[in-house]
Subunit: 424 residues, 3 copies
């Protein structure tokens, strides 16, 4: 357990400095790092200009360098020190300008004076720099040199996809995003937890379901992926999770699907029920569930996360750094999604195959010495059997009889062996 | 706004002195007054003796005069001073009688000693006088002269009907009653608010629905009207309101239909949700909803009113006078029904016609400068679109996303223009 | 009323000393006692070894005598003084043993030092004695003589069945058990209340439903009965009650069926709604509802009782004696089941047969003098009629309009006579 948490954290440390954006070499570098861990990852590209429903794949953006030289000759807002200093998708610039012109291209947060904000301008061409309000306050009038060595050109949108076969064609879907530069909870927690989950899924012996896992840029990436795969997704996906902001060790959160009535919702609520967690409304959505759960797409994809995007002050700033996440935090989030997957893998409709209560004694299922623990097991067994009427799946039964589904795994095995229940 | 409230109040002042009852010239005079304002009003008559389901149209009653001369020669209980002094449908009388006999024909309220009660005897022939308990206490033994110059004869029940065509044959129905003598909230508030609403409806450009509006005597009038029009009412009426006690400025109230599950209920609750109002049970009914919502009739007709009949001490007494209602009170009630009508007129099932979220920016729907107000608009737009899946009407969407439907009117127009949504 | 309570108590006094068990002469003697009261009782037998679903009818057990002689020659644990001293289904024994061996066959309750526990071993052959912890503490080392004069042999399981015909083939079912030795609330309250109810049922003039009543050993008896009668039970039984622990005068309790959604549940909740009672979950079940409500059996059989089995400290000990029950307690339980039966007998779907409200006056149903009491009757009548739309049965209507169904019995009769309502 410790190992997995630490391993995920180490991956995050490696990936942190890379300048990811909607497109470009930072995304490619990130995906190749993950492919080193999971060779099954396919790295795919879609050309700029491709139509995806209401959207068009934008130009590819790359940036090498960027900075400002102040009137005293000091280099500030240096991209090489923190890639958040450059507004994402900034057009190239190399110019001397007056302070009055410069400030129209500067972004900072007065309320969080030590944070560099994260700003992008994907669909309107502009250039800009982000800096802390503390830095901003020190600027004086005069002539500044601004330089951004970026390139905006027809290229590709890059994403990763993994498909793992199970006994059934039906799929469990995981989606995470790789489009944010150096931020830890939003975003690196997502790809590293997803990577660890793929390792876990590969180890499920005789897994029942197939798995589809994507590493995409947020919004345009999910729209593109849906536009290419909608029919298959609607046909095969029985439940899925959007994996984001899952690395801090504060709270747990759940964001439902549009009507909160899918298997993903049922599983999420069951998994979290004895945990202290916040149940959000779909109105609080803000990540790729906006696309997966849109009308006509209607996929059963919910979000289980730690402290939700938008709900912590460090969100979308340089303060969402590697100190904001932890091995424990990552492991906690990983473990909830893992439990959700395990539960879906063994969630079945069960049906008792005797009429009236079975005689447990003659099957050796009734304790010869009655203790509180053995009574609890018999009670759970009889309660399970009372509702194993073919109309309830495992989660329903667990909810009705007031236990966690995983407490029933052993009992179910025993009763299957004793030929008392069948899968309905 | 002020004008409409004052105009309604002025009509009530004009109509107040008229001696209305179930039938007779007071009803005719009242309807002709309204026809002067709304020429579309048809004044119709049904003969005494006509069968209406379980009921029979009673005789027509008219009364010119009535009074008592006390032993000292003073005229008391003078109909010409207050028409509530005569029990409605009193048979004629002209007789000298002893006090002991007289008191069997006197009605007063000990608990409200300054109020003349409103008493009728439509279906049992008798005569009587109503007076305040204060007046009653002053009466002394001796010989009294009683005179009621009334006539009870085969005649007609008189009522008014307005039909206004819209694009659809489907109808919105308004019902109010004109059978009470000089009382203001119960009853004149009903006909004057309904009259003002007809003026409003006539001004709705391109109105979608047709309208059926009736001014009838309570109970027997609605039973008669249903018996003549049931098939058409069941076929065409999609929602309606019984309009009564709608002129005081105290509270708002809503009385549901039999199961509280019709469009009229949905609209009423939505319109009132941010107002301080009392939601009654159908068990609290007491006006024509008793007929409209009876088994087999089952019309979608609810009541939005101000302080409900039976729920104020002045109800059915001389204290329910012109000081009990006000231009502001009448306007408040008018405005709620007007909003209900406007909402029904534009309530539709909407369906987004792109898959995934649309790109608002390229359509000029995304603010170029982001402010709290513009963010709120974008949030409402995206939330509206998320639930515009063809399964929700405007009210459903407004309820889900937590806004008043009218806040969405402008957004809907913009999105229609941008070709983002269709009527489902 | 007093008489019936006292009569039931007297029966319990007579039946108390009999040594009942799963099978044997104690059961036969008990059933013959009841047959003296109800000649319609059929006493039936099923041979040992008969298969019943997952179970097999065990051997028949009889016991004449049993006791221990202590080292000082005193007779203790004397079956003739209290039959709870012998573990039910003890094998015969006649032997001198050391204290150290004896104590492995002794049962007592440290927490209830003055109670003899009730212990059985139906499906594992063993012998044993039960005694109070106070008695146990006095025992000293030495040689003891133990003797149990019992017999365990192939024989029969004995039970009683009564069938009473009504106009319909549809049945109301009552089940109680006769397998516990000298204990009062659990068990004699069950058979004596059931016996009194049979007397009541026989007196229902023109009863609508047929009745099936069984006196069986718990668990194996209900399993056996269901295995022989399942098709008929599923075809005919519309509601039933398991009758147990119904003789103390403390609380009332209700145990629902598996999903709490049958007529038996609806009736139970309506009958008890204005009584202080405990609503248990089906997870708290512990008597024959475990069989009647098992998957595939699915019979509509709930439990209305007084203080529920397992929920009082005297349960399954010698302290559950004749002082724990009372004529008042038995009568209270009897009365609830009686009311439930009466309610089912007259529960119908009603439909008004006029459109709009009827004119009560011309039918003499409207009071000529209006008093609070007469207004209440008119209000109930009009409310009843408002919901007598063919979609609600009597209990539904009573629940909607907020009265006890029995308050409507008189009104219904009047309205039937006035030809205002029909059975739907």
């Amino acid at each position: 357990m410790k190992n997995i948490g630490q391993e995920m954290y180490n991956w995050a440390v490696d990936l942190f400095p890379i300048n990811r954006s909607l497109s470009g070499n930072g995304v490619r570098e990130t995906l190749h790092y993950i492919k080193n861990i999971i060779p099954e990852l396919n790295i795919l590209e879609v050309p700029s200009g491709t139509k995806c429903f209401d959207w068009t794949i934008p130009k590819e953006w790359n940036c090498d360098d960027g900075y400002i030289i102040d009137p005293d000759g000091n280099k500030i807002c240096d991209f090489k020190i923190n890639n958040l200093h450059i507004v994402g998708y900034s057009t190239p610039i190399d110019k001397d300008i007056e302070f009055e012109e410069l400030i129209e291209h500067l972004y900072y947060i007065e309320e969080e004076p030590s944070a560099i904000p994260y700003i992008t301008s994907y669909y309107t061409e502009r250039w800009g720099f982000c800096l802390t309000f503390n830095e901003f306050k020190k600027l004086k009038r005069g002539r500044y040199k601004v330089r951004i060595n970026s390139e905006l050109k027809n290229g590709n949108l890059t994403y990763g996809e993994i498909k793992l076969k199970g006994k059934s064609e039906k799929e469990i879907f995981l989606s995470t995003y790789v489009c944010h530069p150096s931020m830890a909870n939003n975003e690196l927690s997502g790809p590293v937890v997803t990577t660890a989950l793929v390792n876990f899924i590969k180890l499920i012996a005789n897994r029942k379901y197939s798995y589809r896992i994507v590493f995409i840029p947020e919004t345009i990436g999910s729209i593109m992926y849906i536009s290419k795969n909608l029919d298959a997704m609607k046909k095969y996906i029985i439940a899925g999770f959007n994996i984001t902001t899952i690395g801090d060790n504060k709270s747990y959160s759940y964001i439902p699907t549009r009507y909160g009535n899918t298997l993903a919702d049922k599983v999420s609520k069951h998994i979290l029920q004895n945990t202290d967690y916040i149940e959000y409304s779909f109105l609080d959505r803000g990540s790729d569930e906006r696309q997966y759960c849109s009308p006509g797409v209607d996929l059963p994809i919910a979000t289980i996360c730690r402290t939700k995007y938008h709900e912590y002050p460090e969100y979308h700033t340089s303060l969402d750094d590697l100190s904001f996440i932890s091995p424990e935090g990552l492991y906690g989030g990983y473990d909830k999604i893992k439990k959700a997957i395990e539960l879906i893998e063994c969630n079945q409709y069960y049906k008792i195959n005797v009429l009236c209560e079975p005689q447990l004694g003659k099957r050796g299922l009734y304790p010869t010495i009655s203790t509180k623990a053995s009574n609890d097991v018999v009670k759970k067994m009889m309660d399970f059997l009372a509702y194993a009427d073919g109309n309830n799946d495992l989660i329903d039964i667990a909810n009705i009889i007031g236990v966690q589904a995983e407490e029933l795994f052993g009992i179910i095995e025993e009763m299957k062996k004793a030929n008392l229940i069948d899968v309905a």
